[in-house]
Amino acid sequence: MSWVLVVLLAAPLVSVVVCAVLPNRAAQGATLVAGLLCFSLSIVLVGHPSSTALSGWLMVDPLSTVFVVPTAFLYFTTAIFSVGYVHPAGDEVARARYLRRFWVGFNVFAWAMLMAPIVNGLPLLWVAVEITTVVSALLVALEHTPGATEAAWKYVLIASMGLGIALVATVVMYYAGSAVLGSGLELFYSRMLPAAGRFPPQITELAFVLAVLGFGTKMGLVPVHTWLPDAHSEAPTPVSALLSGALLAICFYAILRYYEITERAVGAAFPREVLLAFGLASLVLAALVVAVQRDVKRLLAYSSVEHMGVLCIGMSFAAPLAVVGVLLHVLAHAAAKGTAFFGSGSVVRKFGSKDVASLRAGIVFLPWSGPMLVLAVLALSAMPPFGIFRSEFLIVAGGLRSPADAAAAVLVALVTLAAFGLTWYVGRTMMSPASLGTTSSEADGSPEPPPWPWGGLPAAESEAVLATAVVTVPRAQGEQERPSPTRGEPSPWIVAAMILGLAALVVLGIHPPAALGTLLHRAAAQLEVGR
């Protein structure tokens, strides 16, 4: 199956070349084809999750396959979403330049993220993650707003400093490995893991802590998460979806690779304690901030911090069941966060604002993506029948059986708090009666009459209006006048991407395919829990 790995890495690169030289239509087509191809190949890998290529420099095992699948899935769905979403303003030349930069950057970003779990060995993993940083920083800066400039600078600086620490971790782990295996070592996993039991313990522990701190910076673990909400909220929405759904998971993968070695060298107790500390800090902060957030994309960003905390806490339970849950959570979170960002992109496109005060009655104005955004947020809040319900259920069930059941109780409480914040926000923006002037009879997308101020409405009529959920779009003070939204979807592509995301969530939640279940169990066994 080694050709699969080569094609997985070649397809996005071919797409990069097409995007660089051909006009926008061809770029869209090439990206869609590359995305679909990568996703199909990742499905192939689910059935055959072990092979190597290019004389060992490329490799997949069950653990890395678990991370290839969501990355490829988001590559494909985000490409679909981007076709409908990315329509820059400006003159012809500026538009063409923006589009070329976006599509080239998008494909390079996806390529680097696919590369991270496929390359063999810790140094190349670091190189791939560093490439994702620099490419995505440029994509964040693409919008050319003051916010995007600020976010991009903070992101590239903080993430690069974090990766500097991760590089020290790589070098220190190399030292630990060469103490046993001799120098000239490539740090291939297949050579490191069998020998890891003889690594010097103190130095392996140092490497692990440095790796958690370094890659944790990019994964959004508190207290080194500070770049994350800015970059996620200011980036173009497709980039936010990839950052949040795929990139954070890739950095978690990097930490798991160090975890694998460390637990063989010093036992699992030490890495579990480290992950528990970072996970709890992330979950506490995120759950509290989600409750008071006003910006839809920042809200989703903090929700990512929350879910990364859940992943770390899940790994800290000494229970194989919880580890299966953690790996399933990676898949489900990618689908849910991608779909939620697609929905928020649709909302931003419709209302022209990310602020909670100016968004009302989203499900009235957005007949498809509105309800689907609500569903995606319910999925993020771990409601059945979606995948995150199943994965968090497994994590909590594993946690309650483990000695650290107090952490499981804290997890449940904080996740509930965050779920409350998310649903409260979405209830206010999407479901609240909000706008006068658009009734359900105007579902055909015809322009609505001018908005009706609340004060000027006769009492009897206002009751009737409320009863049919017809309302006004209130504007935050000081905001510039925008044309009132009309009912209708910005683009069918956005709807298609969201349907795919929700379908994946339902499949993961109700009946994950047997092959996927086998894969998750093999990957969890690879993490050798319970030692």
């Binding site: 800066a141 003051p146 600078w153 400093m161 020290v168 030292y175 070592l185 909400p229």
Partner: protein
């Protein structure tokens, strides 16, 4: 103190001197007020790292390390400073003295941090076969001072220079404990650095175009 740790030989003396030079340059970067001179100091520091790599290569007959030394010379001594100096020239503005604290306070903090780093690493059971082991403590101290530069300086050029010099510190760490890293991996690291420098350069330009300054004082919109 270094001499007390190990019996002095010419190789040790030169290696210790070069590592110490890397650390002292880092302090000089922290206190120098002009970004332009910071970039020059970075080039000088990279030269010291190059010399150190060549020294290890000569001492232990590691052919790969000569290649790394040559690449370091071309990339870190020439190319990276050239890219950053060009950004500075095109920006046409100079931020003098972007220190967040007084110079003396900053140097004292950095001193405390570097002593912490030196002794913390000194307590770990590392044994280098390529360089005197205290060089590891010195380079970790250098990395921590690089962090101080990024934290305590408020302009984009100093912050970028802080990151690049952090990478120099990691290079020294890898010379001390991982001099046998395969050439392809080392080359990938260096290539990555160049990509990062180009991206830092682009973002510095974007920042300057948008805000008309190199200071990061205006970057305070995103909170919460």
């Amino acid at each position: 103190m270094l001499a007390a740790v190990a019996r002095p030989t010419t190789f040790r003396d030169v290696a210790d001197a070069l590592t110490l030079l890397v650390l002292l340059t880092e302090f000089a970067m922290l206190r120098s007020s002009l970004p332009r001179s910071q970039v020059r100091l970075y080039a000088f520091q990279s030269l010291a790292v190059t010399a150190l790599a060549a020294l290890v290569a000569a001492r232990h007959g590691l052919g790969d390390l000569y290649v790394i030394a040559a690449l370091t010379l071309v990339l870190k001594v020439v190319l990276v400073p050239w890219i950053i100096l060009r950004v500075l020239r095109d920006a046409g503005t100079e931020v003098a003295g972007s220190h967040r604290l007084g110079v003396a306070t900053m140097v004292l903090i950095a001193l405390a941090v570097s002593i912490f780093g030196f002794f913390t690493i000194g307590s770990m059971p590392f044994h280098s076969s390529s360089l005197p082991t205290p060089a590891l403590g010195l380079s970790v101290a250098e990395i921590l001072v690089a962090f101080m530069i990024v934290v305590l300086r408020a302009d984009v050029v100093s912050q970028a220079a802080g990151f690049f010099s952090l990478e120099n510190g990691v290079s020294v760490v890898s010379l001390v404990v991982a001099s046998g890293l395969p050439l392809v991996v080392e080359t990938a690291f260096l290539f990555d650095l160049v990509v990062a420098v180009v991206v830092f350069g682009i973002l510095m330009r974007v920042h300057h175009r948008r805000t008309d300054t190199l200071s990061t004082g205006v970057l305070d919109r995103l909170r919460g």
